[in-house]
Amino acid sequence: MKRSLFLLWLGLCLVLILAAVGQSVWGITTGQGDGSTQVLGAQINQTPTATTTAIATLSPLGTPGPTFTPVATLSNTYLDQ
């Protein structure tokens, strides 16, 4: 087998492997592409911050207005939704 043909073959294989690995890294770190986070949506595998997940309490009529509680302090408290 000619060396140049072999090197061309190997080079193409390497490009494909690097592209596949790069796609996985990009997908996992950004939550897009071919990474695991694409599987069920970006919320999976991402740890939310308190600021992004504070949700208002639905208060009954005539009672004080909504309050906000960060999810990070959820343990044994109420998560307002």
Partner: protein, 402 residues
């Protein structure tokens, strides 16, 4: 003796190779710790997705209780949510399951999974998670009984089902006071495990025998069985994902994943103890397919004299990068770039299918080109072998000194 002298004595011959091996192991350790420190998943933000009617959620003893407020401000129980964990293909699968007060599953959510993305993606695409909805917590919730596995992602399907069953059982017994069927205990020993043991035995006798004709035919038979059973029938070859799972300490339950232990443990044990690779030349299904193609055209081993060594270093570098990434990001399956699944199960992305086509074409021209220059498992076996030789070297020198 000076420090450099001591280091040289410790490394023995092949000092550069061994120094690089030590450096590689240190980097992998750093990747492992990085991955370990960043692998905790937060369950709390997902609870709302399995108890959609809840406006307040309370956590008690690891179980979440969801409530909603009625117009009078009274809290009404909407349901409970619990987390269950089981082993998948690449590592643990953790599922969050929402159950209403009547004991019916109303929501299922993945908290954590380490499966191969291309395969795990099949689960939501085929509506697998919906199979659990509206079922009672006292149902078997088992693949093969009341749940159908997704073809091509059987291990992931089983892992998810087991995790859902465990979560549902916890809610049922702890909060609802319901009786649930006991977790079935069975050792997963069947045809693939039996075949694997037979292939190890064939390899052992093949290595021992001095009769070359026997050895040749034994090897050919092993390769054929490996390709047909471990490849095309069950798609269970040894992959880099197995290595990363092993290093990540994602060891599955032995009784449900006996094959994993026989395959990974057997290869590591035989290579360490006997110094011989029991897998690659003897029953690797992908190697067997390449070898079969080479027979069609009488393709020969190709080792360009000056290029061989640098090319082997590229192969080692690729394997090293894939393992380091797998450990750091705790995703064993995502960096397993071998096109095994594309060949044996017709699963994978377009890049993997292109790679497969190139490798199959290359196999018509060169004997086992993927094994020689691309497979990440060859450097893993090399590293185990090098560690063994190094240990033997050290023991011999200590004996000589004594």
């Amino acid at each position: 003796m000076t420090i450099s002298g001591r280091v040289k004595a410790l490394l023995g011959r092949h000092a550069t190779d061994r120094l690089l091996a030590v450096a590689a192991v240190l980097v992998l350790l750093a990747a492992w710790f990085y991955g370990w420190a960043n692998s905790t998943e937060d369950v709390a933000p997902l609870v709302g997705s399995v108890l959609p009617d809840a406006s307040q959620i309370e956590q008690v003893n690891g179980i979440y209780a969801g409530y909603r407020l009625d117009v009078e401000g009274n809290r009404r129980l909407v349901g409970y949510a619990g987390v269950g964990e089981a082993s998948g293909y690449g590592g643990p699968v953790r599922m969050l399951v929402g159950v209403n007060p009547e004991g019916t599953i109303i929501g299922v959510q993945v908290v954590e999974q380490r499966e191969t993305p291309g395969f795990f993606r099949l689960l939501p695409q085929t509506g697998y998670f919906d199979e659990f909805l509206a079922r009672s917590v006292s149902a078997p919730l088992a693949v093969g009984k009341d749940i159908d596995a997704v073809s091509g992602a059987t291990l992931s399907s089983e892992g998810v089902a087991e995790a859902v069953r465990r979560a549902a059982s916890q809610v049922a017994t702890d909060q609802l006071g319901m009786a649930v069927p006991p977790e079935p205990f069975h050792v997963g020993f069947g045809f693939p495990e039996l075949t694997l043991l037979g292939l190890y035995a064939a390899g052992f006798f093949g290595h021992q025998t001095r009769n070359k004709t026997w050895k040749k035919w034994l090897r050919r038979a092993s390769l054929l069985v490996g390709a047909l059973v471990l490849g095309f029938l069950y798609n269970k070859p040894w992959t880099l994902a197995n290595v990363i799972s092993l290093l990540s300490a994602y060891w599955p339950d032995w009784h449900t994943h006996l094959y994993w232990y026989l395959l990974v443990g057997g290869i590591v044990l035989v290579t360490t103890a006997q110094g011989k690779n029991p897998y690659c030349s003897w029953f690797c299904p992908f190697g067997a397919v390449q070898e079969g193609l080479a027979r069609l055209t009488d393709a020969k081993l190709y080792r360009p004299r000056r290029l061989h060594r640098p090319l082997k270093w590229i192969q080692r570098g690729l394997a090293f990068a894939a393992i380091a990434l797998g450990l750091a990001l705790r995703q064993p399956g995502a960096f397993s770039y071998e096109p095994f699944g594309a060949l044996f199960d017709l699963q994978g992305g377009s890049l993997v299918f292109l790679l497969l086509a190139l490798v199959l074409f290359g196999s018509l021209l060169v004997y086992r080109p993927f094994c020689s220059y691309l497979c990440p498992l060859d450097p893993v076996v090399e590293l185990i072998g090098e560690g063994r030789r190094w240990g033997k070297d050290l023991r011999r020198r200590r004996t000589d000194e004594a």
